[in-house]
């Protein structure tokens, strides 16, 4: 069953078309992440679902009910904002109970829900404080609590962690995941942090220019990105791209300058073109070195140019056929600048993109 269905949604601010003919089905209990770079329309989409923006076209259904013209409060949603948006003059308790009071929930019930939510989020000791007297992480919890007490069908999060420091972000990320496992609600989570997206999501919708470019589970997004933009966006360190010529046929291969890379085992998305300009994308973590490299079908010698140790692993910058190429090696390896390195990769894990359309081949 679908929890949310978005049908042919369009949204314009005057002349500017921010969302175009957007369709999206979100399953019951799913954790969907909207991922995309700044300004691609993620918040706009979320605000449309919440009912904070008037649609220009299309429909939104929540739990099989057409809510396109309904007020935010009637949609059965709870929302957590990027800037927390806590009511500054109310205590934490006041913040949590505001929506319930407006809805005319009886006092005893309000108390019950607040104590349940505050226990779940460990903010019981903070209930009588004002938001100004809370730390960033505590404010974030209260903001989540405010959505929680509403007993909503659907939770909407708009970059809830982006104002926090890295450590707290990791902690709260896990808490949000736990919360989802415990509640089982549908959640839509906006972020432009791909790590957050990968770790939290059941499915990720990558947005670009007001459209959903790919909607897939994290692993599929990582392994089979549909275009070069997503391939470069997902994964850290970013994917390497080698520009060259793809030769199809029974034994497809890829030519960069004078070097030939056989593509044994690569699964083409459609018919294989005879000959086409293309990008070969290889993830730094899929590159093998040394003896393993020599065993792989495509291997080359390269010179180490820059070494970036990152603790658990080390990123090595090299040139392959005159193009930049990054390789991720074990953190314990003792490579130095100027060393020669034998590298190889498995073509079945690589990605090919058309040079002009940048679509996956």
């Amino acid at each position: 069953m679908n929890s949310i269905e978005i049908k042919k949604l369009g949204l314009r601010f005057g002349e500017v078309e921010v969302l175009k003919n957007l369709n999206l089905d979100i399953h019951d209990g799913e954790f969907l992440v909207l991922l995309g770079s700044s300004g691609c329309g993620k918040s706009t989409l979320l605000n449309c679902i919440a009912g904070l923006l008037e649609l220009s076209e299309g429909q939104i259904h929540i739990k099989d009910r057409n809510v396109t013209w309904e007020e935010p409060k009637d949609r059965g949603i709870g929302m957590v904002f990027q800037s927390y948006a806590l009511y500054p003059q109310m205590s934490v308790r006041g913040n949590l109970s505001f929506g319930l009071k407006n809805a005319g929930v009886p006092k005893a019930e309000i108390e019950k829900r607040i104590s349940k939510a505050s226990e779940m989020l460990q903010i019981e000791q903070l209930l009588d404080r004002k938001p100004a007297a809370l730390s960033g992480g505590q404010r974030q919890r209260v903001a989540i609590g405010r959505a929680l007490v509403r007993d909503a069908e659907v939770f909407l999060f708009d970059e809830p962690l982006s104002n926090l420091d890295a450590k707290l972000r990791t902690d709260l990320r896990v808490e949000i995941k736990r919360l989802h496992q415990r509640l089982g609600n549908t959640m839509i989570y906006v972020t432009h942090d791909q790590i957050e997206a990968m770790t939290l999501a059941d499915r990720i919708a990558v947005m670009r220019g007001g459209k959903i470019v790919q909607l897939a589970p994290p692993t599929e997004l990582y392994n089979k990105p549909v275009n070069k933009y997503i391939a470069g966006f997902i994964g850290s360190p970013a994917m390497n791209f080698l520009k060259g010529i793809l030769h199809g046929g029974d034994q497809p291969y890829f030519i960069v300058e004078d070097s030939k890379f056989p593509l044994n085992g690569y699964e083409f998305d459609g018919p294989v073109p005879e000959e086409a300009e293309a990008y070969l994308g290889v993830r730094p973590e899929h590159v093998v070195i040394g003896a393993e490299a020599e065993a792989s079908v495509a291997h080359h010698s390269v010179e180490v140019e820059v070494v970036e140790p990152m603790g658990s692993d080390t990123l090595v910058w090299t040139q392959l056929c005159g193009q930049h190429f990054r390789v991720r090696v074990d953190g314990q390896s003792e490579l130095k600048v100027g060393d020669t390195l034998e590298i190889g990769f498995d073509p079945s894990k690589a990605s090919l993109f058309h040079a002009q359309t940048e679509e996956r081949l």
Partner: protein, 312 residues
């Protein structure tokens, strides 16, 4: 060697001393810094310059007429008397009536209180709607409103006289309140709109998700957050309306003249002797209200002036 060692000890001592004044902890306050002395002297002179007239007024108001005629305006009264204050308040003559300023005081209160409340109530809702509930043409509406503040008052006097006459309120308290409310609108709306627009829109979105409507958001979220700007507006309006002379003269009608108009009538009376002491007392009494507001709410008052200066 030993000589060297000896010589090095005093050096060490000075080094230690130097380290003890190394910045650490809260910064020490320097009271007698030359810059500060100059600053305070200038401020002192300026304060005296502005306080002197007030001093002369207070002194004169407590002297008898013979003493005033001696001309020593700076000397304190030989015999302090408050009877002129009482006269100013209770029995000074303004034209035909000899009931003192108290009539004007209560008239001014009756004009100021409703005008302040009305103008702020309307302008704050205007500002709220214009900043957060944009409607078609709201920008045009706002522009027209602001344009109003650039038109000299005098131009609108005659039309307003006609309008109030047609409404049947000319020459009454309601007419003055009406006019003050209208003329407060542009600047107050601008003040509120700009303040509300600076509040994060997500806060209003959150309130909408929480089920608050137009008025719910206004009363439960915005007003509690906007106490300072309401204070500023109240101060601006009280001082402005209390000190008004023009509208009071034209629209109030003789029985409802505000304090400023009565003061003018007392001071500019052409009959009999000029009672300087009573005049001074009357003037101080009339200026006392804005003065008290200023003293009681200095911080907000300055902000109000700044807001007025930037936008007016």
């Amino acid at each position: 060697m030993s000589v060297l060692a000896y010589e090095s000890t005093p050096e060490k001592a000075t080094a230690k001393k130097a380290r003890s004044v190394e910045p650490s902890g809260s910064r020490p306050t320097r009271y007698l810094d030359p810059g500060r002395i100059i600053l305070y002297s200038v401020l002192f002179v300026a304060a005296v310059y502005y306080l002197l007239p007030l001093y002369v007024m207070v002194m004169t108001s407590m002297k008898g007429l013979p003493e005033i005629r001696m001309g020593n305006i700076f000397s304190p009264p030989m015999e302090i008397t408050f009877q002129h204050w009482v006269k100013a308040w209770d029995s000074a003559c303004t034209g035909l009536y000899c009931e003192g300023l108290k009539v004007g005081f209560w008239n001014s209160v009756k004009i100021t209180v409703p005008s302040v409340i009305m103008s702020i109530a309307i302008a704050s809702v205007n500002g709220y709607a214009l900043s957060h509930w944009r409607f078609k043409g709201s920008e045009v509406f706002f522009t027209i409103l602001i344009f109003g503040s650039f038109i000299p008052y005098q131009v609108m006097l005659y039309p307003l006289v006609i309008i109030t006459r047609e409404l049947g309120i000319f020459g009454s308290l309601s007419a003055v309140v009406f006019v003050h409310t209208i003329f407060g609108m542009p600047i107050l709306t601008l003040l509120f709109r700009n303040y509300f627009a600076s509040l994060p829109p997500e806060l209003l979105s959150a309130a909408r998700v929480d089920g608050a409507g137009f008025w719910g958001i206004f009363f439960k979220i915005l007003i509690p957050m906007s106490v300072p700007i309401f204070m500023v507006a109240v101060i601006m309006q009280i001082t402005g309306i209390w000190n008004d002379f023009l509208f009071g003269t034209i629209f109030a009608g003789i029985k409802n003249f505000p304090m400023t108009v009565q003061l003018n009538n007392i001071v500019n009376t052409t009959q009999g002797v000029k009672e300087y002491n009573v005049n001074m007392a009357s003037t101080i009494l009339t200026g006392a209200v804005p003065l008290c507001i200023y003293v009681l709410s200095g911080k907000y008052f300055v902000r109000g002036i700044a807001a007025g200066a930037v936008k007016g």
